[in-house]
Amino acid sequence: MDLNKAFFNGDSRSINKALKTLYLDIVINAKVNELSRAYNLKNKEPDDILQEAVIILFDAIQRKKFRGESNIKTYLIGICRNLIRDSVKKKEILKFQEHFQEGTEKIKVPEYDHFKELEKTEEENLRDTTLLSIINKMDEKCRKALTLYYYEKIKMTKLAEQLQLKNDNQAKKVIYRCRKKLRIIIQSNPSLIQLLNPQS
């Protein structure tokens, strides 16, 4: 499976498939386990780290922080290493193999600082926390419709098919209605208004 193609040119299904492939990848899982042992990870399971890393990777792709410049698996392992290092005390870190083998290729695990740019600013954190509270107030139909809209971008035919609607127009109407609701909630939220008008 061409992961880069799936992530950067694919629809919701191929993106999901690519994410699943990464999450279930044997090499990645083995490396995360090895990293967890090497860093004496105690408060989390290696799988928690991997799940968190997959979401960070996805977020990096969404925010265009990662555009497929490097091997996506290496990048994900680098995120895992970053998360693990942040979770443990430095003195407990054991010696760790800096490389891993994938097929005939020997790949170096990226350095810690490489992922600094993935960290959110305080402002972004506040925004996301607020938006997550908004998401929780949305009805299931709108959540599903907007998620699909995001994945499918403006391809209304696909959207109608997945939402089991009669045609494109119905899909457009549903999206428009949901976005209107969302816009009202956003505009009624003081902290989000602040983000929109930083000078006020």
Binding site: D128, Y150, K153, R183, I186
Partner: protein
């Protein structure tokens, strides 16, 4: 389509990276010029971020589902391995148990029939009777020895050939000739042996050995006595007497004594005795 919707779609195109470079540059120039458009773009960015977070929430749900899939093959294969190993080991144990039982049964059957065979062929009584038959009866039935007997013994020999041993004893008791006493007693010892009255046979043999003037009769009595002892399992007496016979190459029953000794020394003879 109204203007507002058109703007929303254009901003979507911009945020979704669906514009060409030229379109993008033109749109960005528009944003710089219009504060209202810039604000609309920022609002829509937040909408898009909401959708991104919705997609992330969806991904989190999917990850939890995939985790089950990740663990399932492990647990099921472990269970399969466990089950199959339990099944295999129980099958193997069952087989071993069945084989053991079968082997024990066969061994017991073998031991039973082996023991039967050994007892039938090698125990002292059987050996003694066999040797009595080969050393005394054959010559009697073949008439080899009968010619050596005086005519007075002919009815006795005939009765013995016919296996009428009691009749033979009565006939022998009727022969009241002192010179034939040793022969008469020997024949009686034979008859008692055949009638399985071994003690009577022993007593007669002992008497002959003690009083016999003819070495042949004494040696015959010694042989009969040896066989009687074996039948009665008086082994030490039997072996002592057998040794005497086998150590004397000139003894009339030396070959028979050796045969008996070999049989007793053989594996089966030892097993039976």
């Amino acid at each position: 389509m109204n203007h507002k919707k058109q703007i929303i779609e254009k901003i979507d195109d911009y945020l979704f990276d669906l514009m060409s470079n030229k379109e993008r540059q033109l749109f960005e120039a528009e944003i710089e010029k219009s504060k209202e458009l810039a604000k609309a773009v920022e609002l829509q960015k937040i909408e898009h971020r909401t959708m991104e977070l919705l997609a992330q929430e969806e991904l989190q749900k999917n990850l939890n589902e995939w985790k089950k899939e990740k663990l399932e093959p492990l647990t099921s294969s472990r269970n399969e391995v466990k089950l199959s190993s339990i099944k295999n080991s129980s099958t193997i144990r069952k087989r071993i148990f069945q084989f053991s039982i079968a082997a024990i049964v066969l061994l017991l059957i073998g031991l039973f029939f082996g023991n039967q065979w050994v007892q039938q062929n090698y125990n002292s009584q059987v050996l003694a009777e066999y040797l009595f038959q080969t050393s005394v009866d054959r010559s009697r039935s073949e008439g080899v020895s009968s010619t050596n007997f005086p005519p007075v013994f002919q009815p006795v020999i005939s009765a013995m050939i016919e296996k009428e041993y009691e009749k033979a004893i009565r006939l022998l008791n009727a022969i009241n000739v002192s010179s034939y006493q040793e022969v008469s007693q020997l024949l009686q010892a034979e008859c008692y042996f055949k009638l399985q009255d071994y003690n009577e046979s022993i007593s007669l043999c002992k008497n002959i050995i003690a009083t016999a003037e003819d070495d042949n009769n004494r040696e015959k009595a010694e042989w009969y006595l040896t066989l009687n002892y074996f039948v009665l399992e008086q082994k030490s007496e039997a072996k002592q007497l057998l040794e005497k016979i086998t150590q004397n190459k000139n003894h009339a029953f030396f070959p028979h004594g050796k045969e008996l000794e070999n049989q007793l020394e053989s594996f089966w003879g030892r097993l039976a005795n």
